[in-house]
Symmetry: C2
Subunit: 464 residues, 2 copies
């Protein structure tokens, strides 16, 4: 990254400490507000950022405010006078306003609503009522609407008069008298209008829109599929209520990826950033799955309990169990991770299920053969050189290598089968594969590997 | 999603089968080209999509082409005549053109370059020379440049004359005679220009730009930090060479998340989508880590080998090993996943390392106490009810519960310590935490858990 003008944090903090109002104004006007907000977020003293807030030009306060941390926003709201708060709210986009109101204690929400003009209050309340993670909850309501009958001049005049408040003017939306969405057009289309043309003549009627109640993940998928820059959001009867822009979509994509990553590691998704989640919340998100998986591991314990005789007769059998179930688990996890992610990105659809299973079967054969040959030789090497002490066990290093290596082969094939079929099954049953695949694959792979190992050792190779 | 005009795939395929040119043209003109391309991707016969290609209006062919699968693109390029290919290339954005050229066999690349006008060939060759995953490799070169001295009329005239070719006209870039980037402005700024103002007066000089050689991940981070819609890309001497737009960034974010997810599951990132990667490639990406982890598991085997006496004296000890190392592994994996993802999103910086370790320590105590109490009671229950057969082992269910439960507590604390410190260490050493954390955490947690278990059983509780 190459800022031609590099933001100098120290200079800004110095100006602040010296209460140098002119310098502060100068910096705020010339540098990116995200950097200003980031510096304010690091300040400890409320009076410091209150000072900045008082003296920076009013047209910048809203933008800086939108980038502050939640706690800083709250303490500012508490300190602002009625007029200051009104000014701030006037300059904030409704989606930013609603974003932080959702996290705030009720008394501050009330303070904000009281400072909001009546007509906008209705809009804010409407936005607050959308469920989390819906299109309605992430959309912005500041966009420009045109009428089908408008000519170029009228349209440009409307755009000019509303451009300062709108979040984007690159896309313009055409509605009828009931606010039903009729068409979409781009600002550049208007520049090319002929004098005798109306908006109706040039608007695009083959647009894609979403409902306010749609899940944000499906909105993001539509957005990506059609490479959009903004997507209109409507009610069920197609009245336009907002637009979702690419910065909202970027947030959604990151958030959904983080959720999937957490779920794959058996953690209930955090509501907040990791650094803003305290140890108690973390423990609460992590413990249920840990306990469930621990209890499910009882199956493995019970199976091993049945084979205690074998372990007593050939004590060195047990020492390879972590290696065996570890390798099988890694294979199962690889398959389920690949498939869960591909399902999440819509790369796999129903008609691909059979192909996926065949692909994983072939992969498991290739990986299995390679890994078990290495394993067999390695164990033979460990045993014959005496690195592993086999004196207590009536078995040759060669035979031990064969037992563990052949068990490894079958375990890998079974593990990849389990790892690929569970996510597909979840998806077919409309259960989020990221949520359930981890625990189910782990439990099934562990238990099946132990059974395979001991059955091969006792039945196939006749140990004990 | 609510397309007002729902695309009817069947209708399209029927029109195609009947070779109904008018119907096909009608559909192509009225529906989204992404849907058209998606349908073509599903057709088996080359003559079918060649037919569509021949008869759809030329202004649409390039857009449809850009959304086709690689294999379809290749077979089309092979079949197109020189003139057809020239028309297609003329209408394609350079970044789309380069995108598929990078994947194509050399003879087709040559065919394309030969059909490209000389001046554009230089540009294409330049784009092809950027390393993969750099800003240069994802940027588009179709954007509009203005001069500082321009007045509103001149600027608008230039915008109008170039608007059809540019990927975006929402952002405009101001350069000097050496093409050095001087400022950025938005189309709406121009609409508000006064007659006596020049571009220099209204352009934003505090813009953020990136170098063509910058890594795409850092470009995406800058893009997100400043909530941009497009970011200019320059050479090291600040000459403007391209822009990166939000759709490119969305692709980068998804791709990087997928890479991280794969690496966390010990798979070398795939170059292509899962469905387009065959079993041999999958095995090649998966096997090295599986073999490495299998070999690393030898530590656990060697440690257990040392404790064979204990396992012979109290056979039921071994049957809890999968439960114990599984639980410890899950805890280590939870911590490392949370931290690797937070590092990837820049939520954790160097100064947070101590805080992260303390947070994880407290979390591990909370999780550890909860899980080991449940574990202790559960094992006592399994043993005292006879669900687990303890007849071969000289130990009471109560004592067994205490042994396993207390080992569990220490193992969880150690596992979370390992799981949190390894990613932080990788990050401090500038190694990608997503790459190495998985294998290292697994190996260390397994080995340490086995030691803890047997030391507690033999030394603390005096078994054997």
């Amino acid at each position: 990254m190459n800022d031609l003008l590099d933001f100098n944090k120290e200079e800004f903090v110095n100006a602040l400490n010296n209460r140098d109002v002119n310098k502060i104004r100068d910096i705020v006007e010339n540098y990116n507000l995200v950097d200003i907000a980031e510096t304010l977020n690091e300040l400890e003293s409320i009076t410091d950022y209150m000072f900045v807030f008082k003296y920076i030009p009013p047209e910048y306060t809203a933008d800086v405010f939108a980038y502050l941390d939640q706690e800083k926003q709250e303490s500012l709201i508490k300190l602002l006078t009625g007029t200051q708060l009104k000014d701030l709210i006037d300059n904030l986009y409704s989606d930013d306003l609603v974003d932080f109101m959702q996290e705030m204690p009720a008394n501050l929400t009330t303070k904000i609503l009281q400072a909001t003009p009546k007509d906008r209050r209705a809009e804010i309340n409407q936005l607050l009522s959308y469920e989390e993670d819906t299109a309605g909850s992430i959309m912005t309501t500041e966009f420009i609407m045109l009428k089908e009958s408008m000519h170029m001049k009228e349209a440009l005049a409307k755009i000019k008069s509303e451009a300062q408040d709108a979040e984007t003017i690159s896309y313009l939306y055409v509605v009828d008298n009931s606010r039903v969405l009729k068409g979409v057009l781009r600002l550049k289309d208007i520049l090319f209008m002929e004098d005798n043309q109306t908006i109706e003549d040039i608007m695009d009627t083959d647009f894609t829109s979403v409902f306010a109640t749609d899940d944000q993940e499906s909105v993001a998928n539509t957005f990506k599929k059609y490479d959009l820059n903004a997507i209109p959001v409507t009610t069920k009867d197609f009245r336009l209520v907002g637009i979702v822009t690419s910065d909202d979509i970027i947030d959604v994509i990151e958030q959904e990826a983080t959720e999937d990553i957490h779920m794959m590691a058996n953690i209930n998704p955090l509501e907040d950033e990791y650094m803003k989640t305290n140890a108690f919340k973390l423990a609460l998100k992590a413990t249920p799955w840990i306990i469930l998986l621990m209890l499910l591991a009882t199956f493995t314990t019970l199976i091993m309990n049945q084979f205690e005789d074998a372990m007593l007769a050939v004590p060195c059998l047990s020492i390879f169990i972590p290696m065996l179930i570890g390798t099988a688990g890694n294979n199962g996890n690889q398959s389920s991770t690949l498939i869960v992610r591909a399902l999440g990105l819509n790369e796999i659809t129903k008609k691909d299920y059979i192909r996926v299973c065949l692909k994983e079967l072939l992969t498991s054969l290739l990986v299995g053969v390679a890994v078990s040959i290495v394993n067999c030789l390695w164990i033979y090497f460990l045993g014959s050189t005496g690195i592993i002490d086999l004196s207590a066990s009536p078995i040759s290093p060669f035979k031990l290598g064969l037992v563990v290596g052949s068990a490894m082969l079958i375990c890998i094939i079974v593990a990849k089968f389990i790892g690929s079929s569970i996510p597909l099954l979840c998806s077919a049953l409309k259960i989020d594969p990221a949520l359930l695949s981890g625990p189910m694959v782990t439990t099934l792979v562990d238990a099946s590997s132990i059974i395979i190992y001991f059955v091969i050792a006792t039945k196939l190779f006749g140990l004990i």
